[in-house]
């Protein structure tokens, strides 16, 4: 007993370090999501030859603050016939599921502070990718509970659409990732990044897998062209129809955090994570802290690019019809992902064992 306590005491520094890391990662995610709303408007405006928000702050940079003030000062309405507990829980769940994924993402290599090596990853789980999947699947509950508990048929319809869409596309996403696992040989996101630093980025080995993954990521984030759960012209406003004030803000915010996290995951899995292109980190003589910072910068640059692609696609492609969505998911992406998986498996086996002798 005493020895365990002593061992725990030894770990206070670790607990503090992880706690600080969690605070930083969550606030960075939130800040990034906040400015994604601004970036979305600016990108939308630029793609449509408009100027976007440019009144509050330089180039409208304080616009997210104005939005937050607006959302907070709105009346918070809970419908009479809503299931109150679940109604309040819905946005919280959506936000929680969106933020939890960030725990296994390696945000950079380690930094050294006072002789102590601090890994820039909250938890290096050896089943990192399975964890990501589990949490992404949890995200459906936010949509489903929000839609069901508001006791509105449009919300319910949207929630059912959203849930079936998420579940359908998770399959193809999982299959495309299995092919990736054949290549990397590890489920830990850290190992995947380290492997890419030596062997080159996974996009070189898995272009088809990446294509399937990015399409599924769009569907999982409920972004156009797969934004059926919030199709305004068919379902009024979607599963968050009855929500107002900051509860609505949470739902909208969770969407942007999801977008940010899926961009980070795409960068981590297929584009080398914090690896700086055409630069050998192991051979460089730079201070590890500077290296870690540069790596984080590289990861952020890739993420920003993917977030831009999310927005770019949103303002280019019109929404899929529901049957088209299901056709694409079940009849195109899943067979493609299976095909990709088989080919990858065969090639990996061939490289390991040579041509089979019958």
């Amino acid at each position: 007993m005493i020895s365990t306590l002593l061992a725990m005491q030894m770990d206070w520094a670790l607990v503090l370090e992880k706690f600080l890391l969690i605070v930083v990662v969550v606030s960075v995610s939130l800040g990034f999501a906040m400015y994604s709303t601004y970036a979305e408007r600016k990108v939308a405006a630029a793609l449509q030859d408009r100027s976007g928000p440019n009144r509050f702050g330089w180039f409208g940079l304080l616009q997210p603050v104005a939005d937050a003030i607006k959302l907070f000062s709105k009346e918070d309405i809970i419908p009479n016939k809503a299931n109150k507990v679940l109604f309040v829980m819905g946005p919280g769940l959506a936000m929680l599921a969106a933020l939890m994924t960030s725990a296994v993402i390696p945000w950079g290599d380690k930094i050294v502070l006072g002789g102590r090596e601090i890994s820039l990853q909250i938890a290096d789980l050896n089943i990192g990718m399975l964890y990501v999947f589990a949490v992404v699947a949890l995200g459906v509950y936010g949509v489903m509970i929000g839609g069901w508990s508001s006791n509105n048929k449009f919300s319910l319809l949207a929630a059912i659409r959203g849930a079936s869409q998420n579940i359908s596309y998770e399959l193809a996403m999982g299959l495309s990732l299995i092919a990736l696992l054949f290549v990397t040989g590890s489920l830990s996101l850290k190992d995947i990044v380290v492997g890419q630093q030596t062997n080159g980025w996974n996009i070189l080995y898995q272009p088809l897998g990446f294509l399937i993954f990015i399409v599924c990521a769009f569907a999982e984030c409920n972004r156009t062209p797969f934004d059926l759960p919030e199709a305004e012209n068919e379902l009024n406003f979607g599963y968050h129809q009855e929500y107002s004030s900051m509860k609505l803000g949470f739902y909208l915010f969770a969407e942007y955090i999801n977008m940010f996290i899926s961009s980070v995951i795409m960068a981590t899995l297929y584009f080398g994570g914090y690896d700086i292109p055409f630069f050998n980190e192991a051979a460089s003589s730079l201070h590890p802290n500077i290296l870690a910072l540069m790596g984080f910068g590289a990861l952020m640059a890739k993420t920003v690019f993917f977030v831009f692609v999310f927005m770019w696609v949103r303002w280019t492609i019109p929404r899929f019809r529901y049957d088209q969505l299901m056709n694409l998911g079940w009849k195109s992406l899943i067979p493609l992902a299976l095909f990709n998986m088989l080919i990858t498996g065969a090639v990996v086996l061939y490289l390991q064992n040579g041509w089979p002798k019958f």
Binding site: A46, L47, Q48, R50, N54, W312, V313, W315, T316, I317
Partner: protein, 185 residues
């Protein structure tokens, strides 16, 4: 059937090719088109800082003109009210008293002169009807208001600033549209 115009195009009903069914080439093409719009010039006019020039013949809010000595030109003859197809103009005449010669140009003047901007159709017939060059349509338009009463413009809203006491404001209100008073006319 005979096509009505030479612009008619037949709908292509051939089955889609593999490239078309794969969506991606078309999507990439579309994304190329939207991306090219990033570099296009924005037609936006940043309104309060930057204003769009009006046409030479734009007909905006009315001004009641003064002569070169700053006297009101209107004699309340009522021709503008008669000419007005929307019946937006009402006025009450009064006789100029002793000692008011510096205020009113003629012996009769408009004690009350109101234009209902919600009725006005800005046709400019009042301007054409006026025999005294007293009413002009300017280059500004009626700003928004919270209630209907705010759109009934009285004399203090319509009257141009006095050119003797406030030349600058007068020039601005006249804006090249109002005929400048010519001495001895």
């Amino acid at each position: 059937m005979q096509p009505l115009t030479n612009r008619a195009k037949n709908v292509d009903r051939r089955p889609m090719t593999l490239a078309e069914r794969a969506y991606l080439p078309a999507i990439l093409k579309g994304m190329g088109i939207t991306f090219s719009h990033l570099f296009k010039k924005k037609p936006t006019i940043q309104y309060p800082e930057e204003k769009r020039p009006f046409s030479q013949v734009f007909r905006g809010l009315h001004v009641l003109n003064r002569d070169e000595e700053g006297r009101e030109r209107c004699t309340a003859c009522g021709l503008c009210a008669v000419a007005c197809p929307a019946e937006a103009i009402t006025m009450e005449a009064a006789e100029r008293q002793e000692g008011e010669e510096n205020l009113y140009r003629e012996e009769k003047y408009a004690a009350k002169y109101e234009i209902n901007m919600l009725r006005c159709i800005f046709c400019g017939l009042c301007e054409e009807a006026c025999p005294k060059d007293a009413i002009y349509l300017s280059e500004t338009f009626a700003p928004a208001n919270y209630d209907r009463k705010g759109f009934i413009y009285g004399k203090n809203d319509l009257l141009i600033p006095n050119p003797l006491t406030d030349r600058e404001a007068y020039e601005q209100a006249a804006g090249g549209r109002v005929r400048q008073p010519v001495a001895g006319r």
